[in-house]
Symmetry: C2
Subunit: 344 residues, 2 copies
C-alpha cells in the first residue's frame, strides 16, 4: 500500500497481457474468458494487489468520503450524532471525515474551504454559534456540493434539514417548571441568530405567556459561544442571580449551557432544586447520576445522525438532480428528575 504499491500494470506485465484485460478481468467483465479471469485473479492474489482508490476517484470524480462539521466532538450530543452517521456511512462504503469548528465562524470557514478542496462528496453540518452569514456554505452548495444541515440549520438553501421539535421541547420544559411551582424562569441560550435559539426561545416564551405571565427579556441570557468558554456562562449566571428579582429556575437551551449552569450553581452553593430549579437540553450520559439528578430534554442524537447521512447519500447517489427536500423534525424526550422537583 505504500512502498510496493502493486498496480494493474504489474499484473499485466507479469502475465504478458494488456492492462485493459486485467482491469476487465478484475471487474468480471463479460468480454473476458473464464480462463483469463482465473489467471488474472490468481496473479492479483499472489502479488497482493489492491486497487488504488485515488486513481478511481480521479476518473469517477467522486471520493466516497463525506465530511461532518460540528463545533466539538467531545460533546455527547455531537458524538452521538457522529456515531449515527458513521454507523450507516460505514456500511455504504463511505469514509467520514470530521472537522470541528470550536464554535468559531472563522474556523468553520477555513474548515470548509479545506474540506471542499479535498473533494468530498457531501457535507453534514451543524453551524457554529458565530455563524450568521451563510455565504461560505451557499458557495459550495451552488457549486453542486450536497449538504444536509442538522441541529443548527439554515433555511437559506433548498436542502435537507434534520432537527428536533425545538419549539415544543422548550415549551414542554418550561411548562414543566411552571407546573412545579417555579415563578421566575430564566433562560440560558445560545447566540440569538441560531435556528435552535430562535425556536427554543419561542417555545419558552409561549409557555410563559400561556401561563398568564409576561415575558421578561432580562431573564433571557444569550451566550454567543454556546458556553465553550466557561466564563461566558458564569457571567450570564452571575447577572441572573443578581437580578433584583432573582429567578427561581433556569432552563438551559443547549447541552453545554445546562451543565455550565449546574456547575455554577454548585460552586455558588445555591441548592437545586430548592433555591433554583434546573432543566435543560442535554445528551450527557450521566445526568441521571448527577447531584441532584438532572431533569433534561434529550434529543434523539443517534437517530438524527442516521437520518442526516441517509438523506445525504440519497442525494449523492441520485442519478438526477434532487428537487424535493425534506425537513425532518424528530421528537425529543422530556426526562423529569430531581433538579426540578421543588417540593421534594
Amino acid at each position: 500500500m505504500k512502498f510496493e504499491a502493486v498496480t494493474i500494470k504489474d499484473i499485466a506485465r507479469e502475465l504478458g497481457i494488456s492492462t485493459s484485460t486485467v482491469s476487465r478481468a478484475l471487474r468480471d467483465s463479460y468480454e473476458i474468458s473464464a480462463e483469463t479471469k482465473r489467471i488474472v485473479l490468481e496473479c492479483a492474489e499472489k502479488l497482493h494487489y489492491t486497487p488504488n482508490p485515488i486513481a478511481l476517484s480521479l476518473k469517477e470524480k467522486r471520493s466516497r468520503s463525506i465530511a461532518v462539521v460540528v463545533c466539538e466532538i467531545a460533546n455527547s450530543f455531537f458524538s452521538q450524532v457522529i456515531n449515527g452517521i458513521e454507523s450507516i456511512a460505514y456500511n455504504k462504503g463511505y469514509n467520514v471525515i470530521i472537522s470541528q469548528s470550536h464554535e468559531s465562524f472563522e474556523r468553520e470557514v477555513t474548515d470548509l474551504q479545506f474540506l471542499a478542496s479535498r473533494s468530498i462528496d457531501g457535507l453534514i453540518i451543524s453551524v457554529s454559534s458565530e455563524t450568521e452569514n451563510m455565504e461560505h456554505l451557499k458557495k459550495l452548495f451552488y457549486k453542486g456540493l450536497p449538504i444536509v444541515f442538522f441541529d443548527r440549520v439554515s433555511e437559506e438553501m433548498d436542502t435537507h434539514l434534520v432537527m428536533v421539535d425545538n419549539f415544543n421541547s422548550a415549551y414542554k420544559a418550561t411548562v414543566h417548571l411552571i407546573e412545579n411551582g417555579y415563578k421566575t424562569i430564566a433562560c440560558l441560550t445560545n447566540s440569538a441568530h441560531l435556528s435552535i435559539t430562535k425556536e427554543r426561545i419561542a417555545g419558552y416564551k409561549k409557555a410563559i405567556e400561556d401561563s398568564g405571565e409576561l415575558v421578561n427579556e432580562d431573564l433571557i441570557k444569550y451566550c454567543n459561544h454556546g458556553g465553550v468558554h466557561a466564563d461566558e456562562t458564569e457571567k450570564a449566571m452571575n447577572e441572573l442571580i443578581n437580578l433584583e428579582k432573582r429567578p427561581d429556575a433556569i432552563i438551559g437551551l443547549s447541552d453545554k449551557l445546562t451543565t455550565g449552569a449546574l456547575r455554577f450553581l454548585q460552586k455558588q452553593g445555591i441548592s437545586i432544586p430548592k433555591e433554583m430549579g434546573l432543566i435543560g437540553f442535554s445528551n450527557g450520559e450521566f445526568t441521571e447520576f448527577l447531584n441532584p439528578s438532572l431533569s433534561i430534554i434529550r434529543q434523539p442524537a443517534f437517530k438524527m445522525g442516521q437520518t442526516a447521512i441517509e438523506l445525504l447519500l440519497a442525494v449523492i447517489e441520485s442519478k438526477r438532480p434532487v428537487q424535493e427536500f425534506t425537513r425532518c423534525v424528530l421528537e425529543t424526550e422530556l426526562i423529569v428528575r430531581d433538579s426540578t422537583s421543588r417540593n421534594k
Copy 2:
C-alpha cells in the same frame, strides 16, 4: 467543485498558454515571468479555480489524510484524544478519518481493510478489547503504513507508542483505597490480553502485596467487551457483591467500567463510599458533580492525541525510513473526591 470543476486546462485554454506554464505559475516557479504569473493568478481567481487534490494524491502517492480507529467516539477519553489529534492535523493540512471498532475485532479488521484501501498516509489506533491477534496491523505496517498506537498498544511492532503510566496509576489508586481504610478491594477490568489491563492489574496487585495482603483472583473481574454491553458489567458486579467476602471497594480500570460500576451500585442502593468505595479511570466531564462525586484517575487524553499525531506526522514526513521509535509514557492525575472517603 462538483459540476463545473475548473481545471488548469481551462485556465490554459482561456489564456492561450500551456498547462505546464499554468501549473508552474500557480506554484510560483522561478521559470515563469512575473507578468505571466500575474495573469494566470488573475484568471484562476476569475474562474474560481481550485486545485484537485485527488489528482495530486495520484501523482504524489499520498492523500494527506490519516485514520484514527477507536472503539467508540462517544466516550470522553477517546473524543478528547481525537480532539488533540485533530487540533494538530488540521494545522498541518491533514484530514482525519475516524472509524469505530465498537470493541469488535471483526469490525476492527474490516475497518482497517477499508481504510487501507482508501490510501491513508498513516494510522493512529487503540485496539479493540477483542483484539489479541495483530496480524491485520502487522500486514499494513510491513507494507509501509506508519502506525502509532495509543492507550491499548501492541509491542509486537517496532513503532511509536503513546500511553500513560498504567502500572503506577493503578498502584496509586489502590494505595489510596487502602489508606482510606478499605480492606477488600475488587477490580473491574478489561480483557486480560490488553496492554492496559496487564499493566493496571500489575499495579493493583503490587499495591495489595505492598500492604501485606494476598491478592485474591476472585476479586478481579474481566469484562471482555470493556463494558460496552451493560449486562457484562452488571454480571461482574453481581458476582462481586455475592462473594462470601463481599468487597468494600471497587476500582474500575477503564472509563466505561468505572461509570458502569457506579450505575450498578446506585441501582442496587449500595451506598458509596460507606458500603463500597469507588475509584477508577475516567475522563468524563462530570465526575465531579456525580452523586457522590467520583474519585478518578484522569488521563491526559488531549495531550495523548497531540503526541500521537506529532509522532505519526514525523514518520510520514520523514525523508528516510524512521528507525528510532519512542515509547511515550505520560502521567495521570489522581483526583480524590467523595466516592473514596469512607470516614466522611
